[in-house]
């Protein structure tokens, strides 16, 4: 499963993905591919289905129909062991989702200890390295409520990295943050992107999207209306809805 994929084989592919909430059709037949090392941003007006889309990828949200393949495994097959698939797909949430009863380092160590059955010393060493990487070595023993939003989100990123995922999914990672804290989180994400981490990011941070991501999908009313290199799409949007949307957020 961990073999390198050939250049043409996508790490993650989505075929005819549909998601309905009761009568409301949130995602309409989305088909796309994500390759190893790609950093793909997803943007679009609120209610366009961005979050639902990214949540379907690791099956936190159950798609209504369509198929999702990760590393050759069909995630949407009911027989697939999702717990195993999810070990390789990290997710970072808008509201951080840190476990409030555990310290920063315990948050990071929990899954490696319980899911991967790592030895405590091994998990701890790696967790310390990750904390250093996100610039929070001195906060190992702090509880989430003692940390600022930006610090909490950086711990959450470290927690995802602890499972050594092959792809990281970010669901609006900076939209719950005060403006002065957005930067520290984006810096961590940018450095991850530079190191070759495969990332799919739902975000409105135009500068991050333009500089750090290779490709951007514009989602409107559950459809991908634009899909292309970030700089091109942002500097010269072709679809009128993209222009309208960019006009509003820039």
């Amino acid at each position: 499963m961990t073999e390198q994929l050939s250049q043409n084989e996508p790490l993650l592919s989505v075929v005819d993905l549909v998601k309905n909430f009761d009568d409301l059709c949130v995602l309409k037949n989305i088909t796309n591919e994500f390759h190893e090392g790609e950093v793909v941003s997803i943007m679009g007006p609120s209610g366009s289905g961005k979050s639902t889309f990214i949540r379907c990828l690791n099956h936190i949200e159950e798609p209504t129909s369509g198929k999702i393949y990760f590393d050759g495994i069909e995630v949407t097959n009911p027989k697939t062991d999702l717990d195993t698939v999810r070990r390789d797909m990290g997710m970072v949430f808008q509201n951080f989702g840190l476990f409030p009863h555990l310290t920063a380092i315990e948050n990071i160590m929990l899954a490696p200890l319980k899911v991967k059955k790592q030895k405590k010393a091994e998990a701890r060493n790696f967790a310390l390295k990750l904390l250093e990487r996100v610039g929070l070595s001195d906060k190992a023993d702090s509880y989430p409520k003692q940390l600022s939003g930006g610090q909490q989100q950086r711990v959450a990123i470290a927690r995802s990295l602890a499972m050594k995922p092959r792809v990281l999914l970010f669901d609006e990672p900076t939209s719950a943050l005060d403006p002065e804290m957005v930067r520290e989180v984006l810096d961590v994400m940018t450095s991850l992107a530079q190191e070759g981490m495969t990332m799919i990011v739902v975000s409105h941070e135009i500068n991050f999207i333009r500089e750090a991501s290779s490709r951007v999908l514009v989602l409107v009313d559950g459809e991908v209306i634009e899909d292309g290199p970030s700089k091109e799409v942002i500097d010269n949007p072709s679809h009128p809805r993209t222009k309208e949307f960019l006009g509003k957020i820039l």
Partner: protein, 228 residues
């Protein structure tokens, strides 16, 4: 009947001469009360957690059964359940010792309430917690065990402590069986000495057992209140 004056009260209710040589019986009664209480608290808490886990599960039939069970416990006096188990079940050739009957009934009834407490605690935990845990590859069980239940437990601790207080008080129903727990011991001495002082002393002992618990509960509730 002779005229009683206010100054007779100590002689009647706080007559330490009556207690002479009787403390050991009263203390052994207190010990039995504590035994029943501790066993019942542990078992009903564990069982209550299971009840809660089944309640939050999706199985409709099990849920209906548990709601029926809960309503039964809410709508019957606990002493009725005790009489049914101890005096009724032997007709089906099912016989429990008085001690076992008491524990079974207390656990049966209080697990229902504790189950509801745990259930509300688990449901109060933000769904992002579950999503975060599952997205790390943790199983449903691991998510409950390491993420949800520890938080829910903290949240419902004041309610639990209240239930535990109720359990200790409910041990007094054992007086209707042949169990010499605290209240029964006090009754025996009181009848024999024809004086209510032992009953007053048993009240004091209940207070000694329960006050630390109720005061802690009050503190926990205050802390929870100030947090919100």
């Amino acid at each position: 009947m002779e005229e009683l004056s206010f100054s007779d009260l100590p002689r009647i209710f706080f007559n330490m001469d009556v207690m002479e040589g009787q403390w050991s019986l009263l203390l052994s009664g207190m010990w039995v009360t504590l035994e029943i209480a501790v066993i019942s608290i542990v078992l009903s808490t564990v069982l209550g957690l299971f009840v809660a886990l089944i309640r939050i599960g999706e199985d409709k039939l099990l849920n209906v059964l548990l709601i029926a069970y809960l309503e039964f416990c809410r709508a019957t006096p606990i002493v009725v359940a005790l009489i049914v188990v101890y005096f009724g079940l032997p007709f089906l050739n099912v016989t429990f010792s008085p001690f076992a009957s008491a524990v079974i009934v207390i656990v049966f009834v209080h697990a229902a309430y504790i189950g509801e407490a745990f259930r509300s605690g688990i449901l109060a935990i933000n769904n992002t917690q579950t999503e975060a845990a599952r997205s790390l590859g943790m199983t449903k069980f691991q998510t409950l065990r390491y993420v949800i239940i520890p938080q829910a437990f903290k949240l419902v601790l004041p309610t639990l402590a209240n239930q535990w207080t109720g359990i200790i008080k409910d041990t007094a129903i054992c007086t209707i069986l042949a169990i010499t727990e605290l209240l029964k011991a006090a009754q025996i001495i009181s009848t024999w000495k024809a004086n209510p002082t032992p009953l007053v002393m048993s009240t004091v002992m209940y207070l000694i057992i329960l006050l630390p618990l109720t005061l802690t509960t009050m503190k926990l509730e205050k802390r929870r209140g100030s947090k919100n």
